[in-house]
Subunit: 218 residues, 2 copies
DNA sequence: AATTAAATTTAGACAAATCTAAAAATTTGT
DNA sequence: ACAAATTTTTAGATTTGTCTAAATTTAATT
């Protein structure tokens, strides 16, 4: 498998192309910052390799083999992210770019040993679940911060947007995975929230609240 | 820099193409298992980028920039090898293939952090020196086992051949870096040696002895 | 249902890295 | 020194992954 092929498979997975839902070439092109015609070419190639189902003018979806492949790549990506943060003191906004490269290293032993070194983590630094060697993974029971009742509280367990700008904003405001977040008030005008985190009160926009996942205390 | 360019630079360095010595396209092609015509093409490209000096029909040698680049790649390669052995329990015959991939990862921070994690090692698992961030490195004072006087002894500090078959042979015979090797006798007929290592006596061929580096006890 | 708009595919081109076969330059042998 | 052998380069082709522009199909609108 070439690097380009792997990147397509990963993107299709992230766009929901498992579950026999067809993803349009346009959507893939936009996500990958490439042209629809390039996607068409690759779709044919991946279909030849039995990694995707491709229906002309309709789109692509991953085959079982494609899903298995995608999970393997995602597993590697997320394990490397944990490694970078836990062992090399990278911040969570720095890991993505490097993990994008490391995920393509071909060595089963390497991945499994990294997994072992990290003591088999279940989630990456952004709270996303890490597939096991056999491809199983559990999406955590979580909800957007914007959907919490008011007032109530939850534990911060993940982020939706993983861009460096967003993650740096969170760092600056002492918002990190594992912290308790209490929603105190909602402003009806713009849906902004007043929250308490790490002992501080903070006003956050709806755009922030719709990119933070929390788990309600049980 | 593309991966192919990096591999050419590294190969030229290993063939001695620093020090203004010109390396032939044939030699490079043979080493890289490619064709001389491909080397010619790449030589022009690297010359355009000021990484090598290229004289038609004569060969190539690295420029200062080329040497700096080569040392950076070799540094990464050897640090990853140490990482694989020390942190992930790879054996020394398993590391090369994976390090060949890891050496192309582009992240200065990553290399420096790996260096730090390993406590700034000076030698890789085969006894080869690791260039520092600024490109300095000391070739160890060493000699081939075949060149030791008889009888005398030295510490095993490196291997010349790093192929998996050779390294596995060494493992099987309990020969590892850091061990003391005593040369007891030389067989005039075939230059084979009787040695003592790790408390055992062993007969080794001249081919083995010319691929093992030792440092005389001081 | 026909026309317009949008999405998708095809056709042809390009850059990177490689190859083969033929031409040119260099080296070797006598 | 000159022919033969070797090495190196050139020219043209191939593969992968991409692009643009034109053609085709599907979807939307009136």
């Amino acid at each position: 498998m070439t690097r380009a092929e792997e990147n397509y498979i990963k993107t299709i997975f992230h766009l929901g192309g498992n579950a026999s839902q067809l993803i349009s070439t346009n959507a893939i092109a936009e996500q990958m910052e490439t042209k629809p015609s390039s996607v068409t070419d690759m779709a044919k190639k991946l279909a030849d390799k039995n990694l995707v189902k491709y229906v002309r003018y309709q789109g692509v979806s991953l085959t079982d083999l494609g899903i298995k492949t995608a999970l393997s790549i995602i597993r590697k990506h997320r394990l490397w992210e944990v490694f970078l943060v836990k062992k090399l003191d990278f911040t969570w906004d720095e890991v993505h770019e490097v993990a994008e490269q490391l995920e393509h290293i071909k060595s089963e032993k390497l991945v499994d040993k990294i997994d072992e070194l990290l003591d088999f983590p279940k989630y990456d630094p952004h709270g996303d679940p890490i597939p096991t060697k056999s491809g199983e993974f559990l999406e955590r029971d979580k909800q957007l911060l914007s959907e919490l009742e008011i007032p109530s509280s939850g534990i911060c367990v993940g982020v939706k947007d993983t861009s460096a700008t967003f993650l740096k904003f969170l760092d600056k405001n002492h918002i990190a995975l594992g912290h308790e977040i209490t929603v105190l008030e909602k402003e009806d005008f713009d849906d902004s929230l007043k929250i308490r985190i790490a002992g501080r009160e903070l006003q956050i926009s709806n755009q922030i609240a719709t990119n933070l996942y929390v788990k309600k205390e049980s």
